[in-house]
Every structure is written in C-alpha cells, then in structure tokens.
C-alpha cells in the first residue's frame, strides 16, 4: 500500500485514473472492508475545497470531506431544526461523527445511512469530479453504480427552505445500525398542508420517497387527524433485519409515520 496526500481536487482526479486507487476520507468505512488489497491510498484530508461549508444565495453546499459532526454543527448554528442536524447529529457516536465524511457515506451507501434519506427529501444534488464530472440529482446517483466508479464526491448542495422536520431512526439502542429511517419535511400555509416530503431508507430499494403518503396528505386541512390506514401506503420492500421481520418493521414504520405526521401537523416540538 502506498499513501498519497494531494492538496487539490485536480491532484485527486489524477489519482482516480490509476488502477487500484482507494480514496480515504475519514477511513471508518475502509476499516470495515478489504483494506489490505488497496494498492494506492489517497488521503483527502488536505484538500481544502472538500471541507467547505457554504451557505449563500438560498443554497447550502457541503464539501464531500465535511464530517457528520461538522455538518450538524454548522447547519445547527443557523437552523437547529434542520433535518441534517437531527439525522447526522445523532448518528453513530460522537467520536465516529468526527470521522465519518459526507462523501464517504454517499459513496458507500450503507443501508443504515442517516444521510441518504434526508438528502433525498431535501432534493440534494451531488457534484462529482473525475470520470463522471457532473452535477446530478441524488436519485440518479443512487440508481447508477457507474457514476460512483472513478468519481470523487466534491460537494452536495440543496436549496434552503424553512421546514418543520421529523426524523426517526429505528434502532434497538441509541448506538445501533438503523433497521430503517423515516425522514419528513413539512410546510403548511393557511392551515393547509402545503408541502410534505417523506423518505424511507433501509428497505430493499435502499432509499424510497413515499409519494403515496405525500399525495394523500398534500393540500388537505392540517387540523384533520384521521390519516386512514397508513400501513397500506407503505411499500412491501422491507427486509428482515436483526431488529425484526420485514412485516414487523413495516408495522413499526406505520406507527412511526403516524407519530411523525401528528407531531409535524400538530406543531408540537419535533
């Protein structure tokens, strides 16, 4: 194994073209995989553009090298209720949040991710450098394994909106891999549901936007508390996990969904 310490994005891109190259962000995911087979390790910690957090012009941009802890901290300064403050601020543990990077997490896409659901709900775009230099939508990136090959996650960005937010991580203990997560963003206007986004992760599809739930509630009276049979609106894509069977997790998700809707639409503390 040989280590390289580039200082610029261009230098990283040069490395990406070479065989047997592995990018090292925080390293936590690498240590769970086949580390010894990596021939060229490219450390990203010295590449300043990857560590930038920029909030301007109604858009937030987070560099791929920003850690979970830093992202939660910086976003929390301006919006303590930001969905990423809730999801990333409680992910894994304090020392791990200081190492896990956004770029590494987006690339690895673990089923227990606390990042993918909120990004999908926020309508995030990902800027890639390397073999596929482009800005792509989160959904497109998740669907295409080709985009991940030979790419560096330079940054991700999403529009700034003031949302009521709710996040649920289905875990057995605080420090546990989530069986599924539910992300909800909500806005209302004149007592009506103006905008609702619901995203589920941890199923066989990894990340799914629950359009059926959104469509049922969009535009209706926010005071209305009868949500109907929410479980029937959930997908059949739950999978068995150590936390419970697929059908059990689907039922739990329905309860979590209703709880989230009541919290958001009732205006209670989320």
């Amino acid at each position: 194994m040989e280590w390289f310490f580039p200082k610029t994005v261009d230098e990283v891109v040069e490395h990406l073209g070479k065989e047997d190259t592995v990018l090292h962000g925080g390293g936590t995911m690498l240590l769970r995989s086949k580390l010894r087979s990596s021939g060229r390790m490219v450390d990203l910690s010295g590449v300043e553009p990857l560590k930038q957090v920029i909030m301007e012009g109604g858009t937030t941009s987070l560099g791929g090298g920003v850690t979970y802890a830093e992202a939660a901290h910086r976003l929390g300064e301006s919006d303590p209720e930001h969905i990423l403050v809730k999801s990333l601020g409680g992910a894994a543990s304090t020392p791990l949040r200081n190492r896990i990077t956004l770029g590494g997490s987006i690339m690895a896409q673990p089923f227990w991710s606390d990042l993918l659901g909120p990004l999908m709900a926020l309508g995030a775009e990902i800027r890639l450098e390397g073999a596929h230099s482009q800005v792509c939508e989160m959904g497109e990136f998740l669907r295409s394994s080709e985009l991940r090959s030979g790419s560096l996650v330079h940054s991700l960005r999403f529009p700034f909106h003031s949302w009521r937010t709710w996040y649920h991580r289905e875990v057995r203990t605080a420090f546990d891999y989530a069986a599924f997560t539910l992300t909800m963003l909500y806005r209302q206007e004149r007592g009506m549901v103006k905008d609702l986004r619901v995203v589920l992760t941890g199923t066989s599809k990894k990340v799914e936007r629950l359009l059926s739930v959104e469509e049922r509630l969009q535009g209706r009276d926010a005071e209305e508390r009868d949500f109907g049979n929410l479980e029937a609106l959930l997908p059949e894509t739950f999978v068995d996990r150590p936390h419970g069977s697929a059908s059990y997790l689907r039922s739990v998700a329905a309860v979590a969904l209703e709880r989230g809707l009541r919290t958001l639409m009732g205006g209670d503390a989320a």
């Binding site: 280590w3 090292h24 240590l31 390790m41 894994a92 304090t94 020392p95 420090f175």
Partner: protein, 158 residues
C-alpha cells in the same frame, strides 16, 4: 513508512506499516493509556484527541494522522497536577476497573470545552461513544458534573 506526529505536545518520528491503526502505533510506542477494546469503533476505550477532536484511534489509520496533533489522556494534565476531570473521576468513585476511564475523560473534556455546564442528558449524549461495563454510568455522570464545576471554578480563578 516513516512519519512525524505530535503526541501530547512532543514531536515524534516513527516507522510503521502503511496499514497500521493509530491505536496500535500509540500502544507500541508506550502510550498504553490508550486502551484496546473492541477495535470496531464501538466502545470508545481507545479514544484520543486528533486535532482536538475526539476520535476512536482504532478507526484511524496512522498514516492519516501524520503531522497532526494527538492528545491522549496523559496529555490533559499540566505538569504534575492532574486535570480537574481526572480528580473528579477519582473523587466521585467513577473508576472501577479503569479500562474505559481514559476514553471517558477525553470525551468529557471535549464536551465541557463546547458546553461548560451540560445537563445530565447532554452528558449522556456527549459520552454516547464510550462504554463502561462496571459502573452503570451513574458515578461517571456525577464525575463529569463535578469536573465541570471544578473547571468553571478554575477558569474564574485564572
């Protein structure tokens, strides 16, 4: 490979395998206050400060920590004087086997730097990456509260 590190304020230069973890390097070089627990980033007994951020040293490749400042629990004290948090842990009886204590103290130190007067809930959250299998956490939380008071008093005196 060969690399430079700054450990507890002192420059160090070591040779080490390219895939060595920071935990193993530190222990090999005599920093045995960094404990080896789970090696999976779960227990927190190997915690150190890397550029003043709490990290699991078992989850850090040593090469990625080159030319950076590393602090172990031994680096908290000033000379012969123990750090107020170390004193608080002893006074509160928050140490039984002592294996988790270095990581606990470093986690508490990071928390109190950000938040000098945390609530019990905030302490629990700040220590969420550190396991203790002896004390049941009651005495540890008491020690952090006691340490916080000591640190605030010290700051006022200075």
């Amino acid at each position: 490979m060969k690399g430079s590190f700054i450990v507890n304020g002192l420059p160090r230069e070591w040779e080490f395998p390219e895939d060595m973890r920071l935990l193993d390097l530190l222990r090999r070089e005599g920093y045995t206050e960094v404990k080896c627990g789970c090696r999976e980033g779960m227990c927190g007994s190997c915690c150190v400060l890397l550029e003043e951020k709490l990290v699991n040293s078992c989850q850090v490749l040593a090469a990625s920590a080159m030319n950076r400042e590393i602090r172990t629990v031994m680096g908290l004290s000033e000379g012969e004087e123990p750090h107020p948090l170390e004193t608080a842990f002893a006074e509160a009886g928050a140490v039984q086997c002592g294996f988790c204590t270095p990581g606990m103290i470093l986690a508490a130190y990071c928390l109190l730097k950000e938040n000098p007067d945390p609530s019990e809930e905030e302490i629990r959250r700040g220590l969420d990456g550190n396991y203790c299998r002896c004390t049941g956490y009651v005495k540890i939380i008491e020690a952090v509260q006691r340490g916080a008071r000591k640190m605030r008093e010290k700051e006022v005196q200075e």
